[in-house]
Symmetry: C2
Subunit: 316 residues, 2 copies
């Protein structure tokens, strides 16, 4: 099968590609390397297993060019920095909503019929019951990133309903693991490298979310696509528990050996405007389809901290 | 209060303006007259009650210009032709999603804090229970028009959560009445003017939806804004029953006096790809806030048919 992975040089995309190559797919990657990293896929490009198109999905005609002959699209490309929406308000509109429109329009024009999309738990907004099931409504995101994810879901639904596309939409918890390029663990390690004596934590540290290990995320995506076949398939992806930011900070401090670091909280119930303090997805549907995550949130965090310390390269 | 009504020269917008003038507001209208009609507001412009800005909301800087000094925004502008999305797939993206982004961004930059938005029952997608309550999920629209409405809801939610906006989002049933410029009744009358001997109906005519009279819609909007005060307020607007397209066709044939017209169905369960065959909103929330529509769907249809026959001017 010839697949296109948008954002394929990114954190999750590059793990997905490893699996797709294993199963024998011909893998095309569309990635402008804005947050993706060429080194994540360099070996696979070298070996000929991956063909990289360095294009911007905001460019419809370039998107069409790399859509030709594709059988299945994994659309993972997005602005990875949720907080950026506060400062530059059209980032998510362009690289989330409009990019998704371009992917769908290119699929329509090229006759490509199947897509999987990485949506997010943030579409549920604030105040949803925990754990949050797929049928919770209304979905009122409070971040611009979340608004773009919801917009993309709607666009995909409309292409299914109007043009006969088949789609799998996954609402992700926090996905973490090797090759992480952003997020709270990545930030904490970089802060401790810059100053091992203190760790500043945004908010009061009581924010509490659920974390899923990236390889389990990728395996779940492929499994769910394998065993479901509705025109529009929606599934939460996460683990069965939560962990607080306070606990993550403690783990990072311990694992980095910066045990003298003072952990300092900026205060307030959330890290930034648009942050959702507490989030946990119901994963009954995922379980029902035969996927049981083996890492809980704390194990996933600890595993990730160790992997990122090695990748980032802390001085011991 | 100085209000801005986007799409204020349109069908619903012009009725809203009548009420806003009655209550003493200073009314600004942003309308590029793509589907709005200057004659709907000409008298009010003449009298100085309305200031019309002939701008395209896809132009952010023009949108900012007419946002200055505004206290409250009624954002009604949209592509009015749901079917158009099939042929020109970026219509709703531009005039729905991006226009809404521009309105919100202009509000942020100009310090305008309150908005009411006309969303639609089509965000609920197909297969929702009837009547559909506001908390139904997941919302998977099947038309590009619906995707743009959902995207706009998400954008508004994100501006509430991130920038402290206050919002009222109304999910409209089919709104009909005087000054209608599109929709099934408008189309049927025009078809019978062109050929009084036959009336072609898209689909099998068993599509069944709920209809609300436009003045009741507008009054409900103003009432709900008056009596609710959450950061984000969501409310369905509709009537308590449905009417089939078949019945609407019969009423139009009878009221136009084209009683010899043969009603011909193109077949299939829906009018076009992306059409939702059956829709009815739960209006418990609306009732609970003290609004009770007096017209049922059939009364609203009959009233509208008579009004439009007079406006369009059929030869007797």
């Amino acid at each position: 099968m010839r697949v296109l992975v948008t954002g394929g040089a990114g954190f999750i995309g590059s793990h997905l590609i490893d699996r797709l190559i294993e199963r024998g797919d011909e893998v095309h990657v569309a990635d402008n390397l804005s947050s993706g990293r060429i080194e994540f896929i360099a070996d696979n490009i070298e070996s000929g297993a991956v063909i990289h198109h360095n294009i911007d999905l905001c460019d419809l005609s370039a998107t069409i060019d790399c859509m030709k002959g594709i059988d299945f699209v994994f659309h993972l490309a997005a602005n990875a920095d949720i907080r950026l929406g506060i400062a530059i308000t059209d980032t998510d509109l362009k690289h989330g909503t409009i990019a998704t429109y371009n992917v769908l329009e290119a699929m329509r024009l090229c006759g490509v019929k199947r897509i999987a999309f990485s949506s997010s738990s943030v579409v549920y907004g604030e105040g949803a019951p925990m754990p949050t099931p797929e049928n919770y409504g209304p979905t009122i995101p409070i971040s611009l990133y979340g608004a773009a994810k919801l917009a993309a879901e709607g666009l995909i639904g409309s292409w299914v309903g109007t043009f006969g596309l088949q789609a799998w939409v996954f609402r992700f918890a926090n996905i973490i693991g090797e090759r992480g390029t952003h997020g709270v663990i990545f930030d904490f390690i970089h802060k401790l490298i810059a100053d091992p004596s203190r760790l500043e934590v945004l908010g009061n540290g009581l924010q509490e979310k659920s974390y899923m290990e990236v390889k389990e995320c990728v395996d779940s995506i492929l499994h769910v696509i394998e065993v479901t076949n509705e025109p529009f398939n929606l599934c939460n992806l996460g683990s069965d528990d939560t962990i607080s930011v306070r606990r993550i900070a403690e783990i990072v401090v311990a694992e980095t050996g910066c045990t003298d670091a003072s952990i300092e909280y900026t205060g307030g119930d959330r890290g930034w405007a648009g942050d959702i303090p507490r989030a946990m997805l119901a994963i009954d549907r995922l379980r029902g389809l035969g996927c049981v995550p083996t890492y809980n949130s704390e194990d996933a965090v600890r595993h990730t901290v160790r992997a990122l310390i090695e990748e980032i390269g802390m001085e011991e």
